[in-house]
Symmetry: C2
Subunit: 360 residues, 2 copies
């Protein structure tokens, strides 16, 4: 609650500041942290992709600024309305909420969703509150099962008693309370298909853990839920992704953050994440060489890009990336099925976890 | 259970038939119903897109047939193994399970997933069992909340007590038992964002219903769950999709089935589905004309295609499609937000349902 109030009071603080400038006959302005690559860096101490301190002043009486200035104010008004009503909207819904004609003109406040998205991102930075706390939700996509009991909106939910489906992870997990956590770690999977297999084999029960999946790049709700569980209960998060540059990038986004959400790193990154698989050594160890799917040019250049990122500069990761270059192709998690229907759940996973066979 | 056994016994029946032909010195063969457009039609009596009775014989000793013959047998062996182990795999995982080198040759049984997919589809037809009963799962994606209590894999799950997330719909809903259904209807939404809004406004509680969403085209698990609830409890299903040809097609697939899954219509279609919105009349009635997004050429030609489909040939639908042609653009459900944050939940939905303002 206090955090919600802080988002609202930060919006109001901004509003009061502007009113003061108007009363004093000044040109109303806001300071917007600069979201360019030049203002983003990997911080080797915190091990997060972070935003620098550079800011730009945006003025109302400035033809180059006025449109985005007004859009940011409209986003602020919408967020304040949402917080007061205690309701949430998606980015798309907020776009339509903001899209109205300015009285006495033929101009819309926003014409394209890109504009409202950008205004919301600016607002996040100006009032130092993630979108979720402004009651603007990201996508919803993901499932969880395991030895955890939560409370959410008055309901007590036992993640170990939800049949074959599991709990559907909401886009916004800020209000969830963890009542009981009997898990020793969390396994995050890139794909729902692997999640269903692991769930059917009751991996979370046998291994005292939580299993979670989104689809492809993890949604913000999933990332935040992983982070909260990991930080609040000191649980390692084991990541399972396909053995290709895109999978490795999913791992790095979960662990270190991303360039586009650098300003959100603090509330999204998971320092305690480990890359469990698919590793290059797994390919030989588990007899998967015959399932290598040759890299396309785009995969090769993506792999080269990863090698250049600061957060992949450790010796361990440079070696790993080199091994994949040598393998020359990707290997999917699903390929483990070639070794048996239960191989991943009953051999691969337990072995890797027992032997601490992961990359950090 | 009995249905599972029937899938397994149908596989075994096919196997015994082949063994008999081999013992009698005949050329082993299976009858595969033909999946071409020529063998598919809209049945105006059942109001389903159905498959005709045309079959083709596929022989083992036939250079043109042998590869797909062997692939179908391998799919059958995998399905039988899965049923016996009481485990499930996804299409991708089954592909890797089937992909092995034939002993004494350098040939793989399958090289691409398209081949294993096709073999599984053939198997579905030959043994007259949907993929789910062969323990081969489709995608998992979707959430549900509402006045229903189910039993699934030993857990009792109350869909009204699952916080903001709801129950995550599994890819396979064949084993679910409905313990208590206090709902008068089901609302199905194309997008998770609308689902979250409706859930936050507790529409299912206020209206005694169930709310369900997938993302875009509904997954098979979602379709089957909708169908089971609708048929077993005689509940109408109200569909909410964006006002464009793609949304209308989603509606028609849910109600009548699709060409590619014509052989599955009986276990997937929902005759009791109504198109609640977005209808062309909604656009004027709810003041959404300013939110029309002009059709692109691809939308226009898709709209024309819909007009030609047998299942859109009713006067009501021809008029509706004509109105959209005249509007010349699409209107998204999210646009309702322009009328207020709670407009969809508190005005649009209750009004439309009360006034039976839908298309059939």
């Amino acid at each position: 609650m206090s955090e919600k109030n802080s988002a609202k009071s930060n919006i109001e603080k901004m509003g009061h500041g502007l009113l003061k400038e108007i009363r004093e006959g000044k040109n109303p302005s806001v300071d917007v942290p600069i979201r360019a690559l030049s203002n983003i860096k990997f911080n080797p101490t915190t091990r997060m992709i972070e935003m620098g301190l550079n800011k730009a002043k945006r003025f109302f009486f400035n033809v180059a600024h006025v449109r985005s200035f007004v859009q940011t104010m409209e986003a602020a008004a919408t967020a304040r309305e949402l917080i007061e009503m205690d309701k949430h909207l998606s980015l798309r819904q907020v776009f339509y909420r903001m899209k109205r004609t300015i009285p006495g003109t033929e101009m819309n406040i926003v014409d394209e969703q890109e504009e409202s998205n950008k205004a919301i991102e600016d607002l996040e930075l100006i009032v130092d509150s993630p979108r979720e706390k402004l009651h603007i939700n990201a996508n919803k996509n993901g499932s969880v099962a395991g030895k955890v009991i939560i409370e959410d909106h008055g309901d007590t939910i036992d993640w170990s008693k939800l049949g074959s489906g599991g709990w559907s992870i909401p886009s916004n997990v800020e209000d969830i309370k963890f009542k009981k956590v009997n898990a020793k770690f969390i396994i995050y999977m890139e794909k729902a298909a692997e999640w269903e297999s692991m769930h059917e084999h009751r991996v979370w029960e046998k291994q005292d853990c939580v299993i979670m999946a989104s689809q492809g790049q993890a949604t913000r709700g999933v990332r935040r839920l992983l982070q909260r569980l990991s930080l609040e209960f000191n649980l390692p998060v084991y990541i399972l992704v396909d053995g290709d540059p895109w999978g490795m990038y999913i791992y790095s986004v979960l662990k270190y953050g991303s360039i586009s959400l650098a300003h959100m790193s603090e509330s999204l990154t998971i320092p305690n994440a480990k890359m469990l698989g698919m590793t290059a050594d797994d390919v030989t160890k588990y007899n998967l060489k015959r399932h290598i799917i040759k890299f396309k040019d785009i995969d090769k250049s993506r792999l080269k890009q990863l090698k250049g990122y600061d957060w992949f500069k450790s010796k361990e990761w440079q070696t790993e990336l080199g091994k994949w270059e040598k393998l020359g192709g990707k290997v999917e998690l699903a390929a483990l099925t070639a070794n048996g229907i239960s191989f991943m759940a009953e051999k691969y996973l337990p072995d890797k976890i027992k032997n601490k066979d992961w990359l950090d």
